[in-house]
Symmetry: C2
Subunit: 314 residues, 2 copies
């Protein structure tokens, strides 16, 4: 098979041995694979793939059809449409993952959009509901809402009945993010005007954490998912104590196989169901053939886009 391959910082489209499914694993013929911020870091030599994932093939998510089941993998038949997050290796013609990480692609959803679903929606659902305990009636701030995780989070929070305040740097995307369900879409410097917030999903980094701290309700939760604008935050602990707030954060990638299976189970029950009902969608900013990964990564890194950049095979 061929795969996007990181060779000294360049993205090549190289031959690799076909993956072989071990016990409980499934090989998927990849149709599409979304690009994520972590791919940019991995290309530069930061954020290496976890043990068990290919070191030189990027890609944290994919969609496709089942090619082969390993011993004991019985849920899906050959040809079934599936999608998943993976520790790496998604940007290839084939990928092998534990069966427990696979999500069914709902009928009526095409594989290109499905290829941009797993990472953004798993991250957003885990952060909003598992970590931050968001529920109806809460006020939630989503900072940097035009990207993959942001657009997923706006939709999931709106469907859950929260009041969604989204910050988006590019005014051209404000109307589109409003259409996804945000009650308020504002520039990042307007955080103070639209609070206070029960939950803050921070996709930008340190400046966002510092900005929201004075505008929290009692018991508020800040969950940090992205630090593109800086990781070193100046935190006033008296503000944290005064609000009885918590500042937390997480990545999916570092979690164990078992934990990822648990996340997939929760995501199938909520976000995948909503995806099948048409209640949430994957905004796709652009698609590129896998062989053109270099151009696709440039498009991703340029920013200012709405939603996902997705690589496609064949």
């Amino acid at each position: 098979m061929r795969a996007v391959t990181i060779v000294e910082g360049e993205l090549l489209w190289n031959e690799h041995p076909d993956p072989v499914p071990g016990p409980g694993q499934v090989v998927v013929a990849v149709a599409a694979a979304g690009i994520n911020g972590a791919d940019m870091l991995q290309r530069k030599g930061f954020y290496p793939a976890p043990p068990g994932s290919p070191a030189d093939i990027p890609g944290l998510e994919f969609s496709g059809t089942v090619l082969a089941n390993g011993d004991g993998a019985v849920r899906f038949a050959t040809g079934d449409r599936v999608m998943a997050i993976c520790g790496g290796g998604g940007q290839a013609e084939q990928v092998v993952v534990p069966e427990s990480h696979l999500l069914p692609v709902p009928d009526g959803v095409d594989l290109v959009h499905a290829g941009g679903f797993p990472e953004a929606f798993s991250t957003a659902q885990d952060a909003l509901f598992t970590q931050a305990d968001l529920s109806e009636g809460h006020s939630v701030l989503i900072s940097g809402a035009a990207g993959g995780v942001g657009t997923a989070a706006v939709q999931l929070a709106a469907v859950a009945g929260a009041r969604v305040v989204a910050t988006v740097r590019n005014p051209d995307h404000h109307e589109a993010v409003r259409t996804l369900g945000a009650d308020v879409v504002a520039l990042p410097d307007a955080v103070a005007e639209h609070g206070p917030y029960d939950v803050s999903l921070e996709l930008v980094g340190a400046p966002g954490v510092e900005a929201v701290l004075p505008h929290l309700t009692t018991g508020a939760r800040i969950v940090v998912i992205g630090v593109g604008a800086g990781a070193k935050a100046q935190v006033n602990l008296l503000a944290v104590m005064g609000a009885r707030a918590t500042i937390g954060g997480s990545t999916l990638r570092a979690r164990s196989t078992e934990e990822k299976a648990g996340v997939a189970w929760l995501v199938e029950a909520r976000a995948v169901r909503l995806f099948g009902e048409g209640a949430v969608k994957v905004p796709v900013a652009d698609t590129f053939p896998m062989a053109d990964a270099t151009a696709a990564y440039e498009r991703f890194a340029a920013g200012g886009k709405l939603g996902k950049v997705v690589l496609v095979t064949g």
Copy 2:
């Protein structure tokens, strides 16, 4: 009645009207009242008393005997030994509080030690168990463990079966804190050697938060209760995300009457029970008559003590 009274930063022993119990309230004849860091702040004009508490009488905790019940207050009889946290006004001959905030003083415990119990043990129990979900087998760091909350936390955590690492600046108190149940007592700069930590109870402030961040287990909780050494922490959000940690904090004083009743209910079931069994105790560093509050506050502010400074009446 007479009460410690803040007049332009001075502590006088002045006459005030006797408090009258409203519905559901109880007037207590105070026997003893512990001093807390918040009293120092209130004396300087910071940290004003919450609505409903006397503005000029300090004191966040007390012990004593019931003098009078208001309408509907039926749990305690006149003369019963009780203790409680209060929004202020504890350092007086009489104080009035909601019945729901009162804790019974266990048989065999004297009122002087009981006067130093409520604030430290309620704060420590709420932080360790309600906020940080400490349980047996966890490793907990208690930073600044020689003070009132610290000595309470060391004991509660040790009784709960946690591995307790305590930092204490004054080497003279290391042996005493070990006797309270700490597995390790170290100087503050030795935090790295004894980790990683599932829970960090931060009683010192920003330097402690910064020191413990690289030494957390997955899913660790930092709970900030004191900021005497600084409130502005430089927080590496990548470290928070990497550990899937949370940084939180709280004060008891700002909570509603109903929330304080909930805390009292939990404290009676755990810390008060242990107090009665002799499994935890209140180390008292020094006692002073209420009329000598100025000297007592100086003793408190000088630091370097083990346990509580307690004011006593007549």
